[in-house]
């Protein structure tokens, strides 16, 4: 009996040995970097190892607010982050409406076609999006050529090298890339709606718009709610890739969001410690937001999304 027990134990340790290398990989690449947060409390200059005499306590956290230039800079970055995330939040209904009206196209092949081509941009990188933007928007690109031959403008308009409507344009590119993909979830939800409900509404004499308003929309609300909550939880995280590739000397004032600022500070200016300090604060706020939205979701729907 004991023998069997021992063998079972040996087996379970052996199985652990099989997964150990991968556990180590996770430890090294996901947990160990957390240790890097200590850099925020030191005066860290890249090639040298950390020594205790470089310990500066909360200096970097205080330095964020102790002179007006830095405060202004940080406020500008926060303004950009809030503006771009805010726009996304404001228009977060767009993929849902996109899915609803796509469903009104009765020709199945055409519907599939539209769905296919609008989802494609989701799978290309931001560099490619930028390359496409550059190709159609530069001074000899398609947009300028068409506008000029229509006589709407006399000289080519520099769409990318401009500080106008940067937030809105970033939102447009984001939507171009993601809307089709984001709509898929709603399309699946729409096809799950009981056909009898639509039938009943039609017999009662409801028009298409009335069916959308009274049947389709209410049944999509739970999905929409979860996505809005996730959107809120990620309010401070816009990612940096999109803004990195689109940034230039002209739009820098408006395009630098928190994630990009953290990168620029460290890799551009060598401010590693300050940059880590900012990303720590960002992480804390993000976790709070996540907990907040999760409990709000529990309150409203009776279940969280975590």
């Amino acid at each position: 009996m004991k023998l069997i027990k021992d063998r079972k134990k040996a087996q379970s340790y052996l199985e652990f040995l099989y997964i150990l290398p991968f556990i180590l990989l996770v430890a090294v690449f996901s947990y160990y970097p957390l240790y890097g947060w200590v850099y925020a409390f030191f005066d860290y200059k890249p090639p040298f190892p950390l020594t205790m005499d470089k310990f500066v306590g909360f200096k970097w956290f205080i330095s964020m607010v102790d002179n007006s230039i830095k405060v202004n800079q940080l406020l500008k970055v926060l303004r950009n982050t809030f503006a771009i995330s805010g726009l996304s939040l404001m228009f977060s209904w767009f993929p849902m409406v996109f899915a609803i009206f796509l469903n009104e196209i009765k020709s199945r092949p055409y519907r599939k076609f539209v769905q296919t081509v609008t989802t494609l941009p989701n799978f290309i990188s931001w560099v490619l999006v930028y390359s496409i933007a550059f190709s159609i928007l530069n001074s000899t690109g398609a947009v300028n050529t068409v506008l000029m031959s229509l006589g709407l403008i006399d000289t080519p308009k520099m769409f990318l090298q401009s500080s106008e409507h940067v937030w809105f344009r970033m939102w447009l590119w984001l939507t171009w890339k993601n809307a089709g993909w984001a709509a898929i979830m709603y399309i699946a939800a729409i096809s799950a709606i009981d056909e009898e409900m639509n039938e009943a509404a039609r017999i009662d004499g409801a028009s298409k718009l009335q069916i959308i308003w009274h049947v389709t929309l209410p049944s999509l609300m739970p999905t929409y709610f979860v996505l809005v909550m996730l959107n809120l939880a990620n309010f401070l995280s816009n990612g940096m890739e999109q803004f990195f590739v689109f940034q230039n000397a002209f739009n820098k004032e408006y395009i630098q969001v928190l994630d990009l600022y953290v990168y620029n500070l460290a890799m551009g200016g060598g401010g590693y410690s300050l940059s880590v300090a900012i990303s720590i604060l960002k992480s804390i706020v993000s976790v709070l937001l996540l907990c907040l939205t999760n409990s709000f979701s529990k309150l409203v729907r009776g279940e969280g999304f975590l």
Binding site: F29, S30, P33, G36, L128, S131, M185, G205, V245, V276
Partner: protein, 310 residues
Amino acid sequence: MSAKRYIIKKRNIDMGIQDKLVSIFSYVIYTFFAFVCVYPFYYIFINTLSANDLSERGKVLFWIKGLHFSNYVNVLKIPNLFQSFKISIARTAIGASLTVIIAAFLGYMFTRETLWKRKLWYRFVVATMYFNAGIIPWYITMRNLGLTNNFWGYIFPLAVSPFYIVLCKTFVESVPIELQQAAQIDGAGTLRIFLQIMLPVIKPIMATIAIFSAVQQWNSFQDTLLLVTDNKLHTLQFTLYQYINQASSLKALVSTTTSSTSIAATLATAQTATSIRMTVTIVVVTPIILVYPIFQRFFIKGIMIGAVKG
């Protein structure tokens, strides 16, 4: 006809018109959306096949003018570019295979009741979906490990991917447990059950993950930006980015390649900054478009599993 019936009838006609309008409106607006999504790709594509002097001046809008294929031939001759092509291919192939195999193996192992502290390790791995230390601590870690300017810096950090592991585990759990039990009674060990019983059964989910992670690897840009200064290790994405942003260096490249390769190069086929940029764009986007149809079959399923789990 009574007044009441007349009103109902009129209302029905109005609604019929309204429904028609909704329908027409949908067709128009979605044709516009489709156009906005397709045309940029088409525009770049026809420009790469058109006379370069025309495309340089923005004269190619709707169809190919002065068809020639020299752009695609010439672009192969740029030494750096071919090197980044190889790097992109290598990281996609190696990275995606490793990610898939590890996801399948761990997905299977985390269903084994006998695994020591199974729940703990599962949570240890899955928890990493919800936090990240930030790019600077990550960068410093990578540097300490000697993974900057190192090809494996593209591979190892993405090798164990919690989301894919969750997908695999869910799939393995849907396979009848009797299959494993029968093999166990026949004397098969943990690894043998995985290799001979599980792998063939979970192929569909592995295919899905393979495509997802291949696209992720192919599209990856940020890690090159952070980790790599050696241009022998640059990926296609990164080289393309450089081509767009450093037009001056591209012009230098153009003048050296054209003067050395052929004097006979006419204006129509000589490389220009625009032609290189657009041709590389098509080269980078083509693999995505090629795997996309396979993708589509899988991703609706994939997103649904993701929605349930997460």
